[in-house]
């Protein structure tokens, strides 16, 4: 036996090293880590999938908005914006749906509309686009009134203005003329213009 003692020692060392390796490996590798399909692409920690699934949703969808707001059913069904999700313009719903006291911030700015409707060569032609905002208003005023009485009121109104910029200064928002929920031909009347310009 004495001549094999060195073999025994070596065996003990190897067994201890292997046991140590297995112990460290089992401690370092997560339990759900393994092959879940094709070795090339599906060798992963299964719990990572559950973690991905549990990420909270921020944008909650139009149906969620329609649960409380009737707008979708009655107003949004017509016009070019009918298929657009509420959260596209109004922003994400998460905070408001958790606590309705938190209001969804209203962005009434020109910039929001122009993100889709400012003229770009790259934009498809079927999207209504505005190249020059002043020209757009002038054109709209010129073509917006067919009633002779309204036209004469309009001419008088414009002639009283020192500059056209005075008018555009009072007329800063697209939504003053266009209904963003059902865009189409704007409903502009002289009293409407006077109301906006004179406050």
């Amino acid at each position: 036996m004495g001549r094999y003692r060195y073999i025994l020692r070596l065996c003990i060392i190897i067994v201890l090293a292997m046991a140590g390796f297995i112990a460290v490996r089992s401690f370092l590798i997560p339990p759900s880590f393994g092959l879940h399909g094709d070795y090339k692409y599906m060798y992963y920690r299964a719990d990572a999938l559950k973690e991905q699934e549990s990420i909270p949703v921020v944008y909650q969808g139009t149906e969620k908005c329609a649960d409380c707001h009737e707008m979708r059913k009655y107003v949004m069904i017509r016009g070019g914006h009918a298929d657009i999700a509420c959260e596209t313009c109004h922003g994400f719903l998460q905070a408001h749906s958790e606590d309705t006291k938190i209001r969804v911030p209203k962005d009434l700015s020109l910039q929001l509309c122009l993100r889709c409707h400012q003229y770009q060569e790259s934009r498809p032609d079927n999207i209504p686009q505005i190249q020059d905002f002043n020209l757009h208003i002038k054109w709209s005023l010129k073509h917006g009134f067919s009633n002779p009485e309204e036209l004469s009121m309009l001419n008088e109104f414009i002639s009283n203005m020192k500059e056209f910029s005075e008018f555009t200064r009072y007329y800063p928002l697209c939504i003053d003329c266009h209904n963003p929920h059902a865009p189409g031909n704007p409903k502009v009347t002289i009293p409407h213009i006077l109301k906006i310009t004179r406050g």
């Binding site: 060195y6 073999i7 070596l10 997560p30 880590f33 092959l35 879940h36 399909g37 094709d38 070795y39 090339k40 692409y41 599906m42 060798y43 992963y44 920690r45 990572a48 999938l49 973690e51 991905q52 699934e53 549990s54 990420i55 909270p56 949703v57 921020v58 944008y59 909650q60 969808g61 139009t62 914006h81 298929d83 657009i84 999700a85 959260e87 596209t88 994400f92 122009l114 993100r115 889709c116 400012q118 003229y119 770009q120 060569e121 790259s122 934009r123 498809p124 999207i127």
Partner: protein, 251 residues
């Protein structure tokens, strides 16, 4: 049996090495032999696909904004972005993507006559044979059973091999988490029956997402009726993100 120490160590070493190789082959060879184990089309398990219609994209950048908010993407990084292509009369191609298109696009600063102009949204292609997954040294990136390429943030060591390997530039190292980050096709939304955030907010319906196994999926109609292509098909990654109206300038 007479054996000296040198001989014993040699034989023991060879035995261990040979045994290790044998065990490794036994463990891994079935996987190597298999092709992609995604469920075959026509079964009840969903296999997701994504279509970008470049004819419809208006470059508003709402998709980029929604992606950033939904997935808490840091300011300087993008899981999806929109590129503007301008081809001038002399044939030069100008591509820009200010802030990834997150705030929309300003009027062009390219002088001269524009011969051709369009927007192309980009995102991870969720390849059926992804380079990024193959090169990951720690198994932190993988393909989900539905065909979505995902990153295990807890396991990623941030070595950037996958960022280099992706031929589409769809990956980045998240400066906050210090791990690889990429589009997940909003896996957390999709598993709840919602569409990805970019698809939800796209006002032009230029982005479509669906289950390729669902005959009512909007993707099926697109694949049947439209001429659909993928980016860099010659690389053999078999992207699951397809494009309608892909121009030759797009890379």
């Amino acid at each position: 049996m007479d054996i000296d120490r040198r001989q014993f160590l040699k034989q023991a070493g060879c035995t261990l090495l040979g045994g290790g190789v044998f065990i490794s082959i036994g463990q891994f060879s079935p996987g190597i032999a298999k092709a992609s184990q995604l469920p075959p089309l026509g079964t009840s398990t969903p296999v997701y696909g994504f279509v970008v219609n470049t004819f419809k994209c208006i470059g508003c950048g709402k998709c980029v904004e929604a992606c950033k908010i939904e997935n808490h993407v840091p300011v300087s990084c993008f899981r999806t972005w929109v590129e503007r292509y301008l081809v001038t009369a002399d044939g030069a191609v100008h591509v820009d993507s200010p802030d990834g298109g997150c705030n929309g696009f300003p009027p062009r600063d390219v002088p001269g006559i524009i011969k051709k102009a369009y927007f192309v949204p980009k995102l991870c292609n969720h390849c059926a044979r992804p380079n990024c997954v193959q090169v990951c040294p720690v198994g932190a990136t993988y393909v989900s059973p539905e065909g979505v390429v995902l990153v295990d943030e807890q396991h990623c060591v941030g070595c950037s091999y996958c960022v280099q390997a992706c031929p589409y530039g769809a990956r980045f190292i998240n400066p906050v988490k210090k791990t690889a980050d990429k589009c997940t096709w909003c896996y957390h939304r999709v598993k709840r029956g919602l569409t990805p955030a970019c698809v939800l907010v796209c006002p032009a319906k230029a982005r479509l997402f669906g289950n390729l196994n669902d005959p009512d999926s909007p993707l099926i109609k697109i694949f049947t009726k439209e001429r659909v292509n993928v980016l860099k098909p010659d690389l053999g990654n078999e992207p699951r993100t397809s494009y309608v109206g892909l121009a030759e300038e797009v890379r």
